[in-house]
């Protein structure tokens, strides 16, 4: 038994959604086309909504009664338990699309499994999120095909984006005591179980996009324990600036 495993588990899900949402929101007014400016910020908004539902449930499970804002704005870097992949910088458009393909494929498989969660609040958020996230994956898939099977420049950029991000995918499927306990309680799947489905889909898309699945022996991890990569601190500083400067601010 791990005390409070369910709360830690839902907090991980929520942090993944919030951090990825904030990264995508950073594209606002900067995307290469108007359609994609709108698409990326729409995806960000879906993720933010998913995060809110999960923070609300976490506050009940961990008994702190914290607000959604408390989780988002009043925690330090070491208290965030998102995976490292979602916090990676946007880079060029290809990097963001590669990150979206890897993340949304993982999240869709996870949401599908979460629709049968024994936690009614989690399964309700999941039922909604499955539909939203399948759009996110479609969007990332379309762009991966266009960039990978596009011209030399787009192919090269997609290839280097994948090479940079691939090492961070190992952490998505890491199992630990919290994940096993959540699985045993029926709250949600042990992420290790999601790997075959993720791998099959990503490989098929990369094949169709004439891209090679990168190989990597470096498998950075630590996000679930609050140990993050360098750029995450800068992202949080910007995201939390208002709440840190004016504690208790409302609008």
């Amino acid at each position: 038994m791990v005390a409070g495993a369910a709360a830690v588990y839902t907090l991980r899900l929520a942090d993944d959604c919030l951090v990825l949402s904030h990264r995508l929101a950073q594209w606002s007014s900067r995307a290469p086309t108007l359609e994609d400016d709108i698409a990326l910020t729409n995806v960000a908004l879906d993720l933010l909504g998913q995060a809110r539902g999960l923070y609300a449930r976490t506050a009940e499970l961990d008994g702190t009664g914290r607000s959604e804002d408390d989780y988002a704005f009043m925690r330090g870097e070491r208290e965030f338990v998102n995976c490292l992949l979602v916090e990676q910088e946007n880079g060029d458009f290809a990097t963001t699309i590669a990150r979206q393909l890897l993340c949304s494929t993982f999240q869709l498989a996870q949401w599908q499994a979460l629709t049968t969660s024994t936690d009614a609040q989690v399964s309700a958020v999941a039922a909604k999120a499955v539909k939203e996230t399948s759009y996110h994956r479609d969007h990332a898939t379309d762009w991966t095909l266009r960039l990978g099977d596009g011209n030399d420049e787009s192919h090269r950029r997609m290839e280097s984006a994948l090479a940079a991000l691939w090492p961070f995918t190992a952490e998505l499927f890491e199992s630990d005591a919290v994940a096993r306990e959540a699985d045993a309680l029926g709250v949600g799947p042990d992420p290790a179980a999601l790997r075959p489905e993720w791998q099959a889909y990503v490989r098929r898309v990369l094949d169709d996009a004439t891209l090679v699945v990168p190989e990597s022996t470096w498998t950075p991890s630590g996000g679930r324990q609050g140990l993050h990569t360098e750029s995450f601190g800068y992202m949080l500083a910007e995201m939390q600036h208002l709440h840190r400067s004016l504690p208790g601010v409302t609008w």
Binding site: E35, I38, L45, D46, A120, D138
Partner: protein, 159 residues
Amino acid sequence: MTAVDEIRNIAGAIPDPEMPALTIADLGILRDVRVDASGHVDVDITPTYSGCPALDTIREDVERCVRDQGYTDVTVRIVLSPAWTTEWMSEAGRVKLREYGIAPPRQHGFDLTLLTIAVQCPRCDSSRTHELAHFGSTQCQAVRQCDACGETFPHFKEH
């Protein structure tokens, strides 16, 4: 008219903040109204999308309208389950959407894989249309173009 019916009519007539041509009853956002013996009113609403920014406004509008009608003890609850689906949109809502220039969602009997009907252009009714972008000006819309008249129009996505 019973109190429940009266409240349902008042709350149901509130326009959606992002698509004011439609009411929250047309969209199927208003799920349930209950009045207990002490006169306490519970209203359930369901968001169309997880992060829908209009939801807080809708909740405030419902609270205010029901209070203004004399039902001062009111709680508006946001209910996530069962998840909202475009199947809940009323026929009147679909007609209003088309008149507003938005292609309504196709009916799919809760099975999204059965969507084979073409999306019709709200301007000329042609079935020859194609998608320009998965995402549009709100979370619930995609952007399409008509091959017959050239009109670019939003399509309320099936969900």
